[in-house]
Symmetry: D2
Subunit: 145 residues, 4 copies
Amino acid sequence: MQEKSEETLFHHELPAQLRWSDVDQFGHVNNNVYFSLYDMCKTRYFIDVAGEDIFQRITIVVANINANFIAPIYYPDEIVIQTTMERIGRKSFTLLQRAINARTREVKCECRTIMVCYDREQGCTILMPDDVRQKIAEFEGREFG
Amino acid sequence: MQEKSEETLFHHELPAQLRWSDVDQFGHVNNNVYFSLYDMCKTRYFIDVAGEDIFQRITIVVANINANFIAPIYYPDEIVIQTTMERIGRKSFTLLQRAINARTREVKCECRTIMVCYDREQGCTILMPDDVRQKIAEFEGREFG
Amino acid sequence: MQEKSEETLFHHELPAQLRWSDVDQFGHVNNNVYFSLYDMCKTRYFIDVAGEDIFQRITIVVANINANFIAPIYYPDEIVIQTTMERIGRKSFTLLQRAINARTREVKCECRTIMVCYDREQGCTILMPDDVRQKIAEFEGREFG
Amino acid sequence: MQEKSEETLFHHELPAQLRWSDVDQFGHVNNNVYFSLYDMCKTRYFIDVAGEDIFQRITIVVANINANFIAPIYYPDEIVIQTTMERIGRKSFTLLQRAINARTREVKCECRTIMVCYDREQGCTILMPDDVRQKIAEFEGREFG
């Protein structure tokens, strides 16, 4: 798995508001809450980058989630979720996300999500539309092979 | 508010499965989790009593929730949710629900929910359909004035 | 139940960040999510008003929740939670909270929570400490009988 | 990644109760809910296999989660979570879990979780205690190299 350690590679950041109900018996934010936060920021990423109507146009389905839990998040840490497109392949693409401490910038968790575009009416996966790919390339400032 | 203390008044019971993520820093099940459990059992109540297609036929909207928290629920207590129709009025009806310990039958929480039937297409509240009212009366073994 | 309709009575407001996972099949924010948001803002209220160490000093337990659901919240509505102390009695006190649309100021939900101070070691309810009561009175700009 | 396709390899199964609040706008169970269900069953696995006091004895920390989402779960599908120990290494071990349809046995999601034993007082990872390893080997009916 290739590393992407440089902070500046993430052009999309969103503060994540923690809730009291996110915390477990040890004062840690529950692991499964991270995925709610990542989801929230995936949704924002696509809306911010590809437009408000993106989810009317295409359905995006998660195929695989792979998360490294590096350090615990305590309540009420201030957390920022970073999101970037790491890869756009022929049939799928990979978002890389991190949960970091807003002040110290310590990386708490790193997560890769493999997703596919899906056509609900036809019931099959489809290619990412060219204009969406183009907008993502512009936002990220690089081409996706 | 009238009391309904006799156990036998509840004809609908469902065990509620607690999750590790339901627990807060004090080892208590979070208050807001109770409402997820009550919701789950409201849905089951209407399906069990009024038929599988009830939510295709009518939309039921919550107008008021009033819950007394009597004793904490600890993980992994075995909890049962009891549900009964307490009142069917002209414009609204009231479900009474309790969270009780499955073994000791101790009442942990008691909750009344005032609901209305709603017509999504017309965008207005409607009367509860007569056959639904009838099925509820049969299930509960009493008439609703 | 007395009404408290004037906007200016709320001196504590916190934007609530909605998550994709908060939304149900109808595109509504789930009723039970409101209680997570209210909880989050109760915690902030006491920390902001009575000091960072308030929850090391006392335990606050919820005795009753009474919520009026006035209008649905849709994703991604911008929501603000307002919190004020409505009453401090001898044995309990009541927080009044509202979920409002951040832009239109429309009230979506209004919730009263009756709470008691609790001594975990002695296992009994206690009076609210005088200095906490005083800080709340100062924050709210009025005396509590 | 080695495959473990034979049904009989899973000796630990637990029905997972779905809640109305688990469902998203498309009628799917939210991806992040799966992780709550897996967590619930991890906890049960260790209690069932290694004893009621296991979490008083050791702390188990998640290092990595890797989940394949194979088919959506709809409400109110009946879901069973299967759990097995796949690997016990020197410093970490891997649980394999699946969410399957209770009736059709269709695999909805497959998830590997890499965990480590942790000593809270010393603040460092520790080896899995021999007796725990032994109990797991007995339960799974095989040795872990």
